[in-house]
Symmetry: C2
Subunit: 212 residues, 2 copies
Amino acid sequence: MPSTPAAAASAAGEASAANRRGRPGYDQQSVLAIAVDVFNKHGYEATSMGILAENLGITKSAIYHHVPSKGDLLRLALENALGGLEAVLDDARASTGPADEQLEFVLRGTIKVLTERLPFVTLLLRLRGNTEIERDALARRREFDHRVAKLVDAARSEGSLRSDIDPRTTTRLLFGTINSIVEWYKPGGPISPDQLADDVISIMFDGLHSRS
Amino acid sequence: MPSTPAAAASAAGEASAANRRGRPGYDQQSVLAIAVDVFNKHGYEATSMGILAENLGITKSAIYHHVPSKGDLLRLALENALGGLEAVLDDARASTGPADEQLEFVLRGTIKVLTERLPFVTLLLRLRGNTEIERDALARRREFDHRVAKLVDAARSEGSLRSDIDPRTTTRLLFGTINSIVEWYKPGGPISPDQLADDVISIMFDGLHSRS
């Protein structure tokens, strides 16, 4: 699960540095994965480097070989989530063709990122914005939401989405439905990410009522 | 925003007791409302009686005149949310007529409780289950969810809900959509609770696509 090219390169660099120092078993990405789980469990602010070291079974100074600070772990984790989401919007299919098909592509892509990077997106969705890093991430999340809202508007103008519901309410409910998936979805469980995306798209676009 | 009759009676009793003691301006319900806001902002566990006293502008011992402990504030707050939700299911309209109409009645009622008792339901939805009081509340919430899931099954069996989507996924997405409302809805804002309920029901049952 690489995040940005820069982060992946940095992770590779850190990993080989760690191996040179004789600490096999952890590289920056595996430290990051465990850190994100601990952040999600206890909250970012309540998690000290000491708690992280305990969960990793290594010393605090060993963590500092992988990443300079707790803030950098948070930054890398959020980059993983946001980079994935932004890549969906940057795909050509998010800006060509009928607007409702663009919207469907983006919602499917969002669900895919959410299920594949579940702990990272969970961390993003629970941010409170208490630090500069968090506020930057929230600004990028708002920009993502804003671009999706524009697709909703466009699909409405094209006449493919119903016009009797306020577009802001529509967008809020779309995100509410999709983001709630992090609360219950179990990766590797009975529902595949593709099946889940199909189900969400079917319900949101066509509704639960059977058609006779 | 009264909770159960018992809680309301208790609140009234406390209020007159408080007035006798010459502390006008606070009764148990207003202490509770402020406490719930503080719990939602800082987390229940991170909130000490000292922090509560600071937010209320009264001494800790003055709080104890209204309620015996922090746990009792939590219990009263959760009773307000759960009592409201359970009353929806206990209404005759939740168990008579076609199952999809029962389901619609329950979802509308749930949205109404959520918007009218927003901070209380928010507290309920953020519980982690670290104490006995929280675990009891989560058990009642699961029972509520279970009864709604049975309505989804019934509506599916009656043929009014589509059968190509797993009923558990359907129920999860219904709750995901509805519960996400606490994250953005502003009571007293441009969207009335009834309008919101109409919009959610329209989207979930009939979908976003325009019908030609």
